[in-house]
């Protein structure tokens, strides 16, 4: 797996390989994106693995229990902080 570190200076920002501007230089800190294939977890057609996490009150939260037989969209995002 190869790290995407293409970066062009653009004032106070960096321009990445797709043209997006960011205050963080691609290839360092949180901007560590892959080139080409990278692990994307379980495949289409497989069962969603168990997701046991904490809710915003710090209590145990299990998606399989909460969704109660409904379809689910599960988004793994980078961070709500930065």
């Amino acid at each position: 797996m190869e790290l995407q570190d293409h970066a062009e200076e653009a004032g106070a920002f960096w321009r990445d390989a797709d043209g997006f501007l960011s205050p963080v230089r691609p290839g360092v800190g949180p901007r560590r994106d892959p080139v080409g294939d990278f692990p994307t977890g379980p495949a289409v057609g497989e069962r969603l693995p168990a997701v046991v996490a904490l809710d915003t009150a710090g209590q145990r939260f299990e998606i399989e229990v909460d969704r109660a037989g409904q379809a689910a969209i599960v988004v793994f995002h980078r961070s709500a902080v930065w």
């Binding site: 997006f20 994106d33 990278f38 692990p39 977890g41 689910a72 969209i73």
Partner: protein, 301 residues
């Protein structure tokens, strides 16, 4: 959009390596109604096999983040679609996620109620606005008169397959157009064609560059925000069983507004919405570095 998901019987969850306290603050600041789930030890992220292994453990404030992406399951919990991109700035828009969850039950176009003599074209953005990095569909609906058809790939030599081209415009990012399945159509000569008939819906995922943020020196950027126009052309050739019309090019313009993304913030003056205590949460992430080291020392002791 979350209400639309609920009404459609689809549950939405967002999970990250943040602490519950940070997610509680974010949910409050941005009035998030769906569950924000905390995976501070990245146990779920590791179990899924999507830990971003580029980030070294020493960078504890970022170590534990995933390669971001989304899974969509059916009622049984079987994954029916996945959304992962090489660049973490691309995110699937909620309309694309909901469509994946509902499959063919959504966006079935109404058949034309009046007889039309020529192909009619309608174009719109599937979503209220564009957001830099958020991928939404530019939808083109073609109404094909009864008895006529358009061509999908592959086409015999000399015929024009249905396709869309976008004007090269500053900051517009265009991904590959998604076509509906073609219908086999056999001519009297025995030749089999791949055609579109009736209401034909083409979807092209698009987004825009730019965004709303602050550089490390405090410079504000509002690049690309505000109203703009997406210009494109749909190309097709309509035929019936006896004759073909000339290849057609129908240009169109879709006015859109580009709005800033809702992101975690550090209380910057121009960020949208109520403020969260981003600086405090970032310090907690940085402190993971120290606590990890303490744990290492305890382990060695």
């Amino acid at each position: 959009m979350y209400q639309a998901m609920r009404e459609a019987g689809v549950r939405l969850y967002a999970i990250s390596y943040d602490d519950p306290e940070a997610l509680a603050d974010f949910a409050d600041a941005h009035e998030i109604e769906y569950p924000l789930l905390a995976d501070p030890e990245s146990a779920v992220i590791r179990a899924f096999g999507i830990l971003n292994t580029f980030v070294p453990e020493e960078e504890a404030e970022y170590h534990g983040m995933p390669f971001p992406g989304a899974y969509v399951t059916d009622d049984d919990g079987t994954i029916v679609a996945k959304f992962f991109e090489n660049n973490q700035i691309f995110r699937p828009g909620p309309e694309r996620l909901l469509r994946a969850a509902l499959g063919e039950q959504v966006e079935v176009p109404e058949p034309a109620t009046v007889a039309i003599e020529q192909v009619e074209v309608r174009a719109f953005l599937d979503g209220p606005h564009l957001v830099p990095g958020l991928v939404r569909d530019l939808v083109i609906e073609l109404s094909v008169p009864e008895g006529q058809h358009l061509y999908g790939e592959p086409v015999p030599a000399g015929l024009v397959p249905t396709h869309v081209t976008f004007d090269e415009e500053d900051g517009l990012v265009v991904k590959a157009t998604e076509f509906p399945p073609t219908t086999p159509h056999r001519l009297a000569t025995g030749e089999e064609l791949h055609v579109f008939e009736g209401a034909v819906v083409l979807r092209t995922p698009i987004t825009v560059l730019g965004g709303h943020g602050r550089g490390l020196d405090g410079t504000e950027s509002t690049l690309g925000l505000g109203p703009r126009v997406v210009r494109a052309t749909v190309h097709f050739q309509s035929c019936d069983d006896h004759a073909c019309g000339l290849p057609e090019r129908v240009p169109f313009e879709v006015p859109v507004t580009v709005e800033p993304a809702i992101i975690g913030d550090f209380g910057g003056p121009s960020m949208r919405g109520k403020k969260m205590h981003g600086g405090r949460h970032m310090r907690r992430l940085l402190a993971r570095r120290d606590s990890d080291h303490e744990t290492d020392e305890e382990n060695r002791a």
